[in-house]
């Protein structure tokens, strides 16, 4: 039988889905709604408070894990969803989706390691 890398890939996909479900609703609510709308006060997530927190190695590591697992999970699902919407050319779509996920991963790494 041909050797398969599917167990690893599916494991990461499942991990990405789990992280997306447990973490993303609250994260979207905080960064996209509560803070911009001033629910936590006007200077919530001010630079002098958020920078030391995010640049701590442990928080950086957790953020990196959450973002990277979620982005690879989303990339794979976008590939499938575009097929569901009638788009054909799975090879091309897959390549673009995973390339974008790779770019997002690099972007996250450099943003966090630059702190």
């Amino acid at each position: 039988m041909a050797k398969s890398n599917k167990p690893i890939v599916w494991g990461l996909f499942a991990a990405g889905g789990t992280v997306s479900a447990f973490v993303l609703p609250a994260l979207i609510f905080v960064t996209g709604l509560a803070v911009p709308l001033g629910i936590f006060g006007d200077d919530a997530l001010s630079h002098e408070r958020i920078y030391p927190f995010v640049s701590h190695w442990f928080v950086s590591l957790v953020l990196f894990g959450v973002i990277v697992l979620s982005i690879w999970h989303a990339a794979h699902r976008i590939r499938i969803t575009l097929h569901d919407f009638g788009m054909r050319g799975d090879g091309m779509i897959g390549t673009v989706a995973y390339f974008a996920a790779g770019m997002f991963t690099l972007g996250t790494f450099f943003a966090l390691s630059g702190m």
Binding site: G17, S20, A21, F22, V23, L24, P25, A26, L27, I28, F29, V30, T31, G32, L33, A34, V35, P36, L37, F40, A44, L45, H47, E48, R49, I50, Y51, F53, V54, S55, L63, I67, S70, I71, H73, A74, A75, R77, I78, I80, T81, D84, F85, G86, A100, F104, G107, T108, F110, A111, L112, G114, M115
Partner: protein, 130 residues
């Protein structure tokens, strides 16, 4: 093979509009696109954060624009919907033996919601403190 199997005609781009459950399926799948956009915005935020207070301030002001708030509202709605749907079917994927029987499905669902609540609370508390 001389037989010609019957192939049911399916509208390639609009098939999912024909049934409520298909629409709900697509609503869950579309959350992946919204998540990708959200993560892009978040990564840009991390880059701006590393560039200093002025860049961060600009980023925070752009997040307060009506378009950004509307996008996050939609993304929040779709991801929350998808998360609840997924937690509700977890017993189908998890059959945990317990004595002669299995752990009741309701308990497995409840455990997921409990973890979800704790994780969300931690994120909210951190945001409130910072």
């Amino acid at each position: 093979m001389s037989r010609k199997p019957y192939v049911r005609p399916v509208a390639r781009t609009t098939w999912w509009l024909s049934k409520g459950r298909y629409v709900r399926y697509m609503a869950r799948e579309v959350s992946s696109l919204l998540i990708a956009i959200y993560l892009m915005v978040l990564i840009i935020g991390l880059m701006r954060l590393s560039q200093g207070p002025a860049a961060w301030q600009e980023y925070m002001e752009s997040l307060a624009s009506p378009v950004a708030v509307l996008f996050h509202l939609i993304a929040f709605g779709f991801t929350t919907y998808h998360a609840t749907c997924w937690f509700n079917v977890t017993p189908k994927a998890m059959r945990i033996p317990s004595g002669d029987d299995f752990v009741p499905g309701r308990l497995i669902i409840l455990a997921h919601y409990a973890i979800w609540g704790v994780v969300s609370l931690i994120i909210l508390v951190i945001a409130g403190v910072l």
